[in-house]
C-alpha cells in the first residue's frame, strides 16, 4: 500500500515537472540573473554525431525549468543552512552585506595594466600633461571586518604600492574610505560604492592637490 502511494507520488512529481515545462512559455531574458537564457537548440547532424546535443539540451532544460528563480533561491538557502559563507563568489557578510570576494590578486593582469598606465603617463608627460591615478579598493578590502571568519581576502593595497613603485602618481583613497567604513559607503547588495563613498574619494583627490573640497552639506541628497 505504502509503495503504491510512493509510486504514484513519484510519477506525479515527474509529470508535474514535464507538464509545467510544456505549459510555461520559454523566457528570453532573466531579470534576476541579468543574462539571456538558453533557447531550444538548433542542432545539426554534426552536433549530434559529436555528441554536443546532450549538453545543449541539458542547458536548455535548466535555463527554462519552470520556476527557475525559485529553485535557485532554494539552493542558496540550502547552502547557507549548510554553513557555506559565500555563494558564487559573494560573501554573506555581517550587517546583511553581500560582499564580492577578491580572494587573490590577478597579479599578472594587474602588472600588465599598470605597465600600460605607466606608458600612457610617460607619453602624456612629453606633452607636459600630468596624469594621476586613483585605484579604488572594493568593499571586501575596506569592509574586511564584516567578512566571515577566516575568509580569504587579498591585500588590495599592495597593488597601489606596486603602482607607486613603478613611478605612477597615485591618489590613495584607502585611508579616506577606511575612516568612514562605518558609514554607508558601499551598497549592501551591489559591488559599487555609494555616492557618499564617492564623495570621500573626491574630497581626498582635491586635498591631495592642495585644494579644499566642497563640504558634504553643500550637496543635496535625493
Amino acid at each position: 500500500m505504502r509503495n503504491k502511494v510512493i509510486s504514484i507520488v513519484f510519477c506525479l512529481l515527474l509529470a508535474a515537472g514535464i507538464g509545467a515545462s510544456v505549459i510555461m512559455p520559454d523566457r528570453y531574458y532573466s531579470e534576476n540573473e541579468k543574462r539571456t537564457l538558453k533557447q531550444f537548440p538548433k542542432l545539426t547532424l554534426d552536433d549530434v554525431g559529436e555528441g554536443r546535443h546532450g549538453d545543449e539540451i541539458e542547458q536548455y532544460l535548466s535555463d527554462q525549468f519552470p520556476g527557475r528563480d525559485g529553485w535557485v533561491t532554494l539552493k542558496t538557502i540550502t547552502d547557507r543552512i549548510s554553513g557555506k559563507m559565500e555563494s558564487n563568489g559573494v560573501y554573506f557578510a555581517s550587517d546583511s552585506y553581500l560582499i564580492e570576494a577578491h580572494k587573490s590578486l590577478p597579479s599578472k593582469q594587474a602588472k600588465a595594466n599598470i605597465a600600460a598606465l605607466k606608458m600612457l603617463s610617460d607619453a602624456l608627460a612629453e606633452d607636459n600633461i600630468s596624469m594621476r591615478v586613483m585605484l579604488v579598493p572594493t568593499a571586501s578590502y575596506i569592509l574586511s571586518d564584516k567578512l566571515p571568519a577566516f575568509a580569504p581576502n587579498a591585500n588590495q593595497h599592495s597593488v597601489i604600492e606596486y603602482a607607486e613603485k613603478q613611478g605612477l602618481d597615485m591618489v590613495d583613497v584607502t585611508e579616506a574610505l577606511s575612516e568612514h567604513k562605518n558609514e554607508y559607503i558601499y551598497y549592501k547588495t551591489d559591488h559599487h560604492w555609494t555616492s557618499l563613498g564617492a564623495y570621500y574619494a573626491y574630497a581626498e583627490w582635491l586635498r591631495s592637490k592642495g585644494e579644499t573640497p566642497d563640504p558634504l552639506t553643500t550637496w543635496t541628497k535625493r
Binding site: S7, V72, A149, P152
Partner: protein, 467 residues
C-alpha cells in the same frame, strides 16, 4: 546520459516508463534494449556501434559454446569472447598508456592515438565476458533470444557504471520478472536515495576536494591536505554508491534484482572487511573469473599470495590506465597479504577503535594514490599531510573547515547505517500513516533539493569517465 541530469529525470525516464509499462510483456525487453541504446548513444553516438558489436559477438559466442558442447571445439566461442573483449578494452583504454611506456623505455616516438574512452566499456566488456564464461562452465543457460541478450548487455540502469551484473544473476529475470507497485515503490525510494547521495552529498563535498587539489603544493597546509583527502573519500563513496543505488532502484522499477554493491565500507575494522563492503560486484567478478580459476587459496600459501598479487594489480589497472592506479592496487594487495599473515590476528585482539582508525588511515592514504594521476604530485601531497607543507594551519584552511564542517558531519552520519537502523525501528513501531508521511517527505524533499542543485548549475562531474 547520466542519471543526475534534468534530461534523464524529466525526459528519458518518463518516456521509458510510459512505453515500457504500455507494451505487453513480450515487447518489454525490446523496449528496454532500444531505450538503452538511445541512452548510450545520447553521449556516445559512434560508440554505440561498438556496444552492438559486443552484443552480437557474445551472443554468437554463447551459441557456439552451446553448439559444440562436449567436443574440443567448445573452447572456440570462449576464446573468441575473452580475446575480443579484452582486446577491445586494451585497445580503447590502454593503448596510449602502452605507447607512452614503450616510448619512455626505448626512447621511441610513436604518436599516441588519443581515442576518447567509450563510456562504460570496462563495465560492459566484463559483463559480456562473464556471460560466455558462465555458459562455458555450465553455470548459465545459453540465451537464444538476441533481444533479451541485448537488453542484458545494454540495460541502461547499470550500463555506463556500476554495478557489474553477472549474467547468471539475472538470467531468469530476463525472461520472466514481476512488475508490481511493491517493486516499483521500493525502486523509487532507492533511486531517490542514490540521487540525493550523488547530487547533494558527492557533488557538494567534491567542491572542497576540487579547491584543495587545485591549490599549489607549496601553499597547502597539513589541515588543508587532510580536509581535502577526507572530502575526496566522501565524494568518491557517495558518487559510486549513489550511482549503484540509482541503478539498483531503476532495476527494481523494471522488475530486476541487482546485487548490492556497497555496504557501508567506511565502518570497516580492517582492510579485508573494507573490500568486502566496497564495490562488491567488482570484487566478486575478480574472485569468480580470476582468483578462483588461478587456484584461489587451495593450493598453498605461496600460490595464494601470487593470486592476490595478480588480482590486485589487475584491480588497480582496471580503474585507470596509469601507474598510480597500479600502485594503488599493489598497495591494497600488500595490505591484504599483511592482514592475512598477521595483522588481522593483532587487530582482533585490539579494541574496535584501533581497527577503525587503522582502516580509515589506510583507505585515505590509498585515496591519495588514487586521486593523482601524476605520482610525483601524489607523493608531494602525502608529504604535506605529514607536516611537510606550508605549515599546519592557515586561515584559508580554517575557512574551508568552517564552511564544510556541517556537510562533513552529514557525510559521516550518512556513511554509517544509523539512518537505516532508525528507519527500521520506526517501521517496527510507527503507524502506517506516519511511515507513509515520512517516506513522502523524504522523497519530495530529496527530489526538490536535487532539482534545485541541478538547475543552479552546480558542480556535477562524471567520475566514471575513465573506467
Amino acid at each position: 546520459m547520466v542519471f543526475s541530469s534534468l534530461t534523464f529525470l524529466f525526459v528519458f525516464l518518463p518516456a521509458v516508463l510510459l512505453v515500457y509499462f504500455a507494451v505487453p510483456r513480450q515487447g518489454k525487453n525490446a523496449v528496454l534494449f532500444l531505450f538503452s541504446l538511445l541512452f548510450y548513444a545520447w553521449g556516445e553516438p559512434i560508440y554505440v556501434l561498438l556496444m552492438i558489436f559486443s552484443t552480437v559477438l557474445d551472443y554468437t559466442c554463447g551459441r557456439l559454446v552451446e553448439k559444440f558442447r562436449g567436443t574440443p571445439k567448445q573452447k572456440i566461442g570462449l576464446l573468441i569472447s575473452v580475446i575480443v573483449n579484452i582486446g577491445l578494452l586494451c585497445f580503447f583504454k590502454y593503448s596510449d598508456f602502452l605507447i607512452t611506456t614503450v616510448n619512455g623505455v626505448f626512447g621511441w616516438n610513436i604518436p599516441t592515438l588519443n581515442l576518447p574512452l567509450p563510456i562504460g566499456i570496462s563495465f560492459y566488456t566484463f559483463q559480456t565476458m562473464s556471460y560466455t564464461i558462465d555458459v562455458y562452465r555450465g553455470e548459465a543457460k545459453v540465451q537464444r533470444n538476441i533481444i533479451s541478450f541485448g537488453a542484458y548487455v545494454s540495460l541502461f540502469p547499470q550500463l555506463i557504471a556500476e554495478p557489474i551484473v553477472r549474467y547468471r544473476d539475472i538470467a531468469e529475470q530476463l525472461d520472466s520478472r514481476a512488475h508490481s507497485f511493491d517493486n516499483f515503490g521500493t525502486g523509487v525510494k532507492r533511486f531517490v536515495t542514490g540521487l540525493g547521495k550523488k547530487v547533494l552529498l558527492a557533488n557538494n563535498i567534491g567542491l572542497l576536494w576540487d579547491s584543495v587539489s587545485k591549490t599549489d603544493a607549496a601553499r597547502l597546509t597539513t589541515l588543508g591536505a587532510w580536509l581535502g583527502i577526507i572530502a575526496f573519500a566522501f565524494q568518491i563513496y557517495f558518487d559510486f554508491s549513489g550511482y549503484s543505488d540509482m541503478a539498483i532502484g531503476l532495476g527494481k522499477m523494471f522488475g530486476f534484482d541487482f546485487n548490492e554493491n556497497f555496504n557501508y565500507p567506511y565502518i570497516s575494522k580492517s582492510v579485508t572487511e573494507f573490500w568486502r563492503r566496497w564495490h562488491i560486484s567488482l570484487g566478486t567478478w575478480f574472485r569468480d573469473y580470476v582468483y578462483i580459476p588461478l587456484g584461489g587459496n587451495r593450493r598453498g600459501l605461496a600460490i595464494q599470495i601470487r593470486n592476490i598479487a595478480v588480482v590486485w594489480l589487475l584491480t588497480g589497472f582496471w580503474h585507470g590506465a596509469s601507474w598510480n592506479f597500479v600502485l594503488w592496487g599493489a598497495f591494497y594487495g600488500v595490505m591484504l597479504v599483511c592482514e592475512k599473515l598477521f595483522l588481522l590476528k593483532w587487530l582482533e585482539k585490539a579494541p574496535a577503535f584501533v581497527g577503525h582508525i587503522y582502516t580509515m588511515l589506510t583507505v585515505l592514504l590509498g585515496w591519495v594514490l588514487f586521486a593523482f594521476d601524476d605520482l610525483g604530485q601524489g607523493f608531494e601531497y602525502l608529504k604535506v599531510m605529514f607536516g611537510g607543507g606550508a605549515g599546519l594551519v592557515s586561515s584559508g584552511a580554517m575557512y574551508q573547515l568552517l564552511s564544510y564542517l556541517p556537510l562533513i558531519l552529514v557525510c559521516v552520519i550518512a556513511s554509517t547505517p544509523l539512518a537505516k537502523l532508525l528507519y527500521g525501528k520506526l517501521t517496527a513501531t510507527a503507524h502506517e500513516g506516519t511511515l507513509l508521511t515520512a517516506d513522502i517527505v523524504k522523497l519530495t524533499g530529496i527530489c526538490a533539493l536535487s532539482v534545485a542543485f541541478l538547475i543552479s548549475g552546480s558542480y556535477n562531474p562524471f567520475l566514471y569517465f575513465r573506467f
